[in-house]
């Protein structure tokens, strides 16, 4: 059974995970085709229509600028995808590399893992807060900061997994055939880490959504003009009674997306190598 095949059967075997996958596909489509789907410019201010209730043409109502919440939600899917993919890339690339190399080269690992320890000792959000204040609010900085926060966790996990793989007999066998470090790492160890990395990616993606929303809430995340679900919640949170739709819709979008990611990640995790199942945190 190929990797994709096993993931496919893991996901489609459960109706809930399948639903999650469909929802994620919808989010992805919205992200790509946002300009085609959104009926309005998400930034267009319209003071006369401010705080309109959900009714055509404003499916999700309007916010206090008079901006169309539905259009902002659609563009929010784009932001969610950017934040998620970006954080996953940073976390998995930086963390993954760090963890893998640390486990493979113990001397290097001795130094690198101390750095990771320092990062891990910081509560994730606290680290993100300090970094965000330092770096100014922007999409790229949010991605980097969330990425760094989860890079530490990823490094820890990959460290453990690589150590386990390093002790595998087939790695010894590869060394005995004369394979060098790069060959052992890239051909023998890395391919066995792909599926756990995929699971980790789905959890980092999910966490990044919550983390980004929390940063937005504290006023230290994405620039406020960016239409993200977290910003929508943060900016409009005083309207919980005055205009409840402004909190219900973006909140539901975040919950659904994170829930779906967790479901899919969980389904993949159950399908992967049981050796690593316990290593990946996630939910």
């Amino acid at each position: 059974m190929t990797l994709l095949g096993s993931i496919g059967s893991a996901v489609f075997g459960r109706w809930l995970a399948t639903t999650g996958l469909i929802w994620l596909a919808l989010v992805a489509i919205s992200a790509v085709a946002a300009p085609l789907i959104a009926p309005f410019d998400p930034l267009e201010i319209n003071p006369i229509e401010r705080l309109s209730e959900p009714a055509p043409p404003y499916l999700f109502g309007t916010d206090h600028f008079g901006r169309d919440t539905f259009s902002r939600a659609v563009y929010g899917a784009r932001m969610a995808s950017i934040i998620g993919c970006g954080s996953v890339l940073v976390a998995l690339f930086a963390g993954g590399l760090c963890g893998m190399l640390s486990a493979y080269f113990p001397q290097l690992g001795h130094v690198l893992m101390r750095v990771v320890d320092v990062l891990m000792a910081f509560p994730a959000l606290l680290l993100a807060l300090v970094l965000m204040t330092l770096l100014e609010r922007s999409v790229i900085n949010t991605v980097i900061v969330i990425g760094i926060v989860y890079a530490a966790t990823t490094a820890r996990i990959l460290y453990g997994m690589t150590l386990k793989l390093k002790g595998e007999v087939f790695v010894d066998a590869a060394i005995c055939t004369g394979a060098g470090h790069s060959s052992v790492l890239l051909r023998h160890i890395f391919p066995n880490l792909i599926s756990p990395l995929l699971v980790q990616a789905s959890f980092v993606f999910a966490f990044s959504q919550l983390q980004a929303a929390a940063l937005d809430f504290l006023g230290l995340g994405l620039p406020p003009e960016v239409p993200s679900w977290g910003n929508m919640l943060a900016e409009e949170r005083i309207y919980i009674t005055r205009a409840p739709w402004l909190l219900i819709f973006p909140g539901a979008l975040i919950i659904l997306t994170v829930f779906s990611l967790n479901l899919v990640g969980d389904a993949i995790r159950d399908a992967i190598d049981p050796r690593f199942r316990g290593d990946i945190a996630g939910v």
């Binding site: 809930l16 509560p123 204040t133 330092l134 919950i255 659904l256």
Partner: protein, 307 residues
């Protein structure tokens, strides 16, 4: 334990560097909008904030070594007492949260592992995952809205110290915040307990226990759960870090005078000594919790020896 000191020093230096690189002058914040830049600069000088960074760090480190965390620029009070008061709130919040996590998470995880595949398992596993998907601040906002404003059952915000009027009854102020904070973490523990229970139940010694003719409940508790606890204990260190993270948001939503909100506000007003102090305390706390976890680990698993 001594090996932790370099980590601590590195962490504190990193934070020191970071927060001083952030633009913004605490003196200007203190004086307010009407003050001129010249006035702010004068105050800055008076506070010693114009000294070279390394010198400031050395000074700070020297003081810390003597147990003095410095004076808050904003409050004009010793950092230790500022943090001390926040710590009461945060620690009580953490303890209550841990209580919910253990009180709900562990039994639900055990039950759903025992009744694997049943509707109880489906609901608790799915519910756990759903709760872990809710942004904490969003949950908090609605809890306040429903239980404080709507039903009037619990106070909405704030927390008078338990040494204040009301005594321990003041803990009711922490009920909603701790539930908010517990929700995603309990979810984590439920899943972890369930997974560990299932892993352990495949072990040979569980079969041995069953072969003795023991009652399934006894097997589940004495043999499966007891061993699953080892894996769960290791997760508590992780949970603590997550807890502190989310406490920042929860304390802001519920306006609790804890160190989470303190640090956010201190970052906003560039109160360097307080930020450094909080980070120091949190890192020490984190290490202490990890040490406790290690000790718990050793006491749970006779194969792990401390020496």
């Amino acid at each position: 334990m001594l090996t932790l000191l370099p980590t601590l020093a590195a962490a504190s230096f990193l934070v020191f560097l970071f927060i001083h690189l952030i633009p913004g002058d605490p003196a200007a914040i203190l004086l307010g909008d009407a003050a001129t830049p010249e006035a702010a600069a004068a105050l800055s000088k008076e506070l010693g904030l114009d000294e070279p960074l390394l010198k400031q760090y050395a000074l700070w480190l020297g003081n810390v070594a003597q147990g003095d965390l410095g004076t808050s620029i904003f409050f004009q009070q010793p950092v230790l007492s500022v943090i001390g008061d926040g710590a009461e709130t945060s620690i009580l919040l953490a303890v209550m949260t841990m209580f919910w996590i253990i009180a709900f998470g562990v039994p639900v995880g055990v039950i759903s592992a025992i009744r694997r595949g049943s509707w109880i398992d489906q609901i608790s596993s799915g519910g756990a995952m759903l709760f872990a998907s809710v942004p904490t601040f969003w949950l908090g906002l609605y809890l306040i809205h429903i239980f404080s404003v709507g039903l009037g059952w619990f106070p909405s915000s704030g927390f008078p110290s338990i040494s204040d009027d009301g005594g321990l009854a003041n803990l009711r102020y922490l009920l909603l915040p701790s539930l908010t904070l517990a929700a995603p973490n309990a979810a984590l523990i439920i899943r972890l307990v369930r997974a560990s229970m299932l892993d352990v139940s495949r072990e040979d010694y569980v079969r041995t226990a069953r072969a003795k003719g023991l009652h399934p409940a006894r097997v589940a508790v004495r043999h499966v759960f007891r061993n699953a606890l080892i894996a769960v204990a290791a997760a508590f260190g992780f949970t603590f870090a997550a807890l502190v993270s989310e406490a920042v948001v929860t304390e802001t939503v519920f306006s609790l005078p804890g160190i989470g909100r303190l640090v956010v506000q201190s970052i906003l007003r560039r109160d360097y000594p307080v930020i450094q102090g909080v980070v120091l305390v949190v890192v020490v706390l984190y290490m202490a919790v990890n040490l406790l976890v290690d000790l718990a680990y050793a006491s749970l698993d006779p194969r792990v020896s401390l020496n």
